[in-house]
């Protein structure tokens, strides 16, 4: 089911830089529209639990998803709606999971950003930051055992999560095993409210790469062209067997940590600086400047995106709530070994 969500024209092999930009832009747009919808539903009190968005991080995230192929592994994190869509996650999966629909991939058991289809290479994050990286390593090692080559595993993580022990152990593990791991660090300058100065003391997070013996690149995360290039190259190098690749992107989260948060702690100088640019606008300007698209096209794409999202939301809102009496309340695949204890 993955890799079929976008219209066929947009998913075919890209033949030019122009096509790549348009494809990425449309995914970014779709992600943004979806995020905006979730935000507005949240404000209307229609959401269970929290809503966590990827606003401002779509260029980077989409670039990751687009660089991957069917058969690759992808472990997206909190702010990767764009990357998920690019990798082929249906809009319906996102909406159903956010609403807790029993028809979604998480079947109302888990919600919002905690979704995936592991058997199709899309891992479902747990909340504990850093914990997914070694899981990607394991999936890649399994592929190696099976003799499958040319496969890549990508995962995204924030500046804050680089402080976790799990991050460290997993990056080192990937390096020791020389796995085709692509690790994207989205430095959006804050971990919830905590600024970089309280999170790490190295000059750049890229300085960590050499300490693991992995390749590292940095990129302007607000610039789609740069992201497509740098992330694409990193994925190609990993695919070619050149070991783990780290990409550190600089950008800003253009929303709260979650929709409950007004992000008033974000430094206004940062907001005003180039790092505070909206990658969607930047990409749009590139499309205009290069004459790859005009206002009419963009408005048509936006219309398409809105329609896709509205359809999905309308459909899911009509779906039944989960029924606790139909839930089997069994955490084991080996049903016969379940205690059925209450």
């Amino acid at each position: 089911m993955l890799h079929t969500v976008l219209n066929p024209g947009a998913v075919g092999e890209v033949s030019s830089i122009c096509d790549a930009h348009i494809k990425a832009y449309r995914i970014m747009l779709l992600a943004r529209v979806l995020d905006d919808k979730f935000a507005s539903l949240y404000r209307m009190g229609k959401m269970h639990g929290g809503v966590f968005l990827g606003r401002g991080q779509e260029a980077l995230s989409a670039s990751v998803g687009l660089a991957l192929r069917k058969g690759d592994i992808f472990a997206p994190l909190i702010r990767d709606t764009a990357g998920r869509l690019a990798f082929g996650e249906p809009v319906l999966d996102a909406v159903r999971t956010q609403f807790g629909s029993p028809l979604g991939p998480m079947r109302a058991r888990d919600g919002n950003v905690h979704r995936g289809r592991p058997k199709e290479g899309l891992l479902a994050m747990i909340s504990h930051l850093g914990a997914m990286i070694s899981v990607v390593n394991g999936a890649l090692l399994a592929r190696r055992f099976k003799g499958v080559t040319g496969v890549v595993g990508a995962t995204c993580i924030g500046d804050g999560a680089t402080s976790t022990g799990a991050f460290h152990e997993a990056v080192n593990q990937a390096a020791v095993e020389n796995l085709p791991l692509v690790l994207i660090i989205a430095n959006n300058h804050y971990a919830y409210s905590t600024p970089n100065e309280r999170q790490f003391a190295c000059r750049s997070l890229l300085d960590k790469a050499v300490g693991y013996g992995v390749a590292g690149q940095q990129v302007d995360g607000t610039d789609l062209s740069a992201c497509l290039g740098v992330v694409g190259d990193a994925v190609s190098r990993a695919r070619a067997g050149r070991g783990p690749q780290m990409v550190v992107a600089s950008l800003l989260r253009l929303c709260g940590h979650g929709e409950h948060d007004d992000a008033s702690y974000v430094n206004s100088d940062l907001r005003a600086a180039p790092v505070g640019r909206d990658c969607l606008k930047v990409a749009e300007e590139t499309l205009f400047r290069q004459n790859w698209a005009n206002a009419a096209a963009i408005s048509r794409w936006r219309h398409d995106a809105v329609q896709k999202v509205e359809e999905a939301v309308a459909k899911v809102q009509r779906e039944p709530n989960p029924d606790p009496y139909k839930e089997d309340w069994c955490a084991l695949a080996s049903k016969h070994l379940s205690e059925g204890n209450e």
Partner: protein
């Protein structure tokens, strides 16, 4: 004026900081931001330099607390959600909990765990971890159920010379209100008869206390007088108070929001069965959450944990035994 459970926690920390220069707070986003739940709101301003933002490093946060405690400080560590204490687990159970026994140096740290389920929070922001910590020697595990206890027990936690795991229930943060902060408190380790009764002893703690009280209220109309015991602290566990109540009622139902295997309800039932067997007129019973991760959707969540309804059903069943 009324004060919430959350405000009581903030007030207790403010008072601890004010009264004792050895106290400091360390945790993710606890500083200028005031914490994910605002339990440290304004404290960084009121107590400059003593409310410190931590990196996302639970292991190092807890290790640092132990080192500071060795040097005589009294750190309060805020874990953003109890669920994330798993990544600092080793420092709690093997470093903090063993320090005094191994070296004779006390380890007065307080670990605040925003615990328990709230609607829509899902498997990783809902856990009740008291049983894990209570199993390890060397830790005190508090589970306050009232605004008054949230305040006085947190102050006591900071004053105690041992590591205290302070399980504060997120569901109570805003829901629960009291008129004022308490001026006196029961001793640590003492359970409380939250409601007197004669037909059945209903033992609960943390958020489940309020479900238990609702059940007691409800069953009055059926002519049943339920005695509700609020454990307050699950380690040490006040077996005496529980036993005395069972001696009066002859019936025990113990309720917990945590998972069914092991845990507080098993411990309470096992103790009463072992030491108070002859006091029982019917088999001692327990009720826990279901044995799956905590579900995201409110409809599933409400069925996963015990509620006044399921507790009332269990109580009625037990009364008929």
């Amino acid at each position: 004026m009324s004060i919430t459970y959350l405000e009581a926690i903030r007030a207790a920390q403010a008072r601890a900081l004010a009264d004792d220069p050895r106290v400091f707070i360390y945790g993710q986003d606890v500083g200028a931001f005031g914490g994910a739940f605002k339990a440290t709101k304004n404290l960084a301003i009121e107590f400059p330099g003593r409310v410190i933002d931590a990196p996302i490093s639970e292991d190092a946060m807890l290790g640092l607390a132990v080192g500071a405690a060795i040097e005589g400080m009294r750190p309060i560590i805020e874990i953003q959600f109890a669920d994330f204490s798993t990544t600092g687990f080793n420092q709690i159970v093997n470093q903090a909990a063993t320090l005094y026994w191994r070296t004779n140096v006390p380890c007065p740290i307080t670990v605040r765990l925003p615990s328990g389920g709230t609607s829509g929070s899902g498997p990783f922001h809902s856990q009740s971890m008291e049983a894990l910590y209570a199993h390890y020697p060397g830790l005190i595990v508090m589970t306050p159920a009232t605004v008054e206890d949230a305040y006085s027990m947190l102050l006591e936690a900071v004053a105690i010379d041992d590591p205290v795991i302070f399980c504060e229930h997120k569901y109570l943060y805003y829901h629960l209100k009291a008129e004022a902060l308490p001026t006196e408190a029961m001793p640590v380790g003492k359970a409380r008869i939250a409601r007197a009764g004669r037909d059945l002893t209903l033992v609960a703690y943390s958020a489940m206390l309020h479900e238990a009280l609702a059940v007691a209220e409800e069953l009055v109309s059926e002519g049943t007088e339920i005695e509700v015991v609020d454990l307050r602290c699950v380690k040490p566990l006040d077996t005496d108070t529980v036993m005395a109540s069972v001696a009066r009622t002859g019936r025990l139902l113990c309720v917990g929001e945590a998972w069914p295997w092991g845990g507080v309800t098993a411990e309470v039932v096992a103790r009463v069965a072992a030491e108070g067997f002859d006091l029982l007129d019917a088999p001692p019973q327990r009720l826990n959450a279901k044995d799956t991760p905590v579900p995201y959707h409110p409809a599933l969540w409400a069925a996963h944990r015990p509620t006044a309804r399921s507790i009332a059903a269990a109580a009625r069943r037990l009364l008929r035994l």
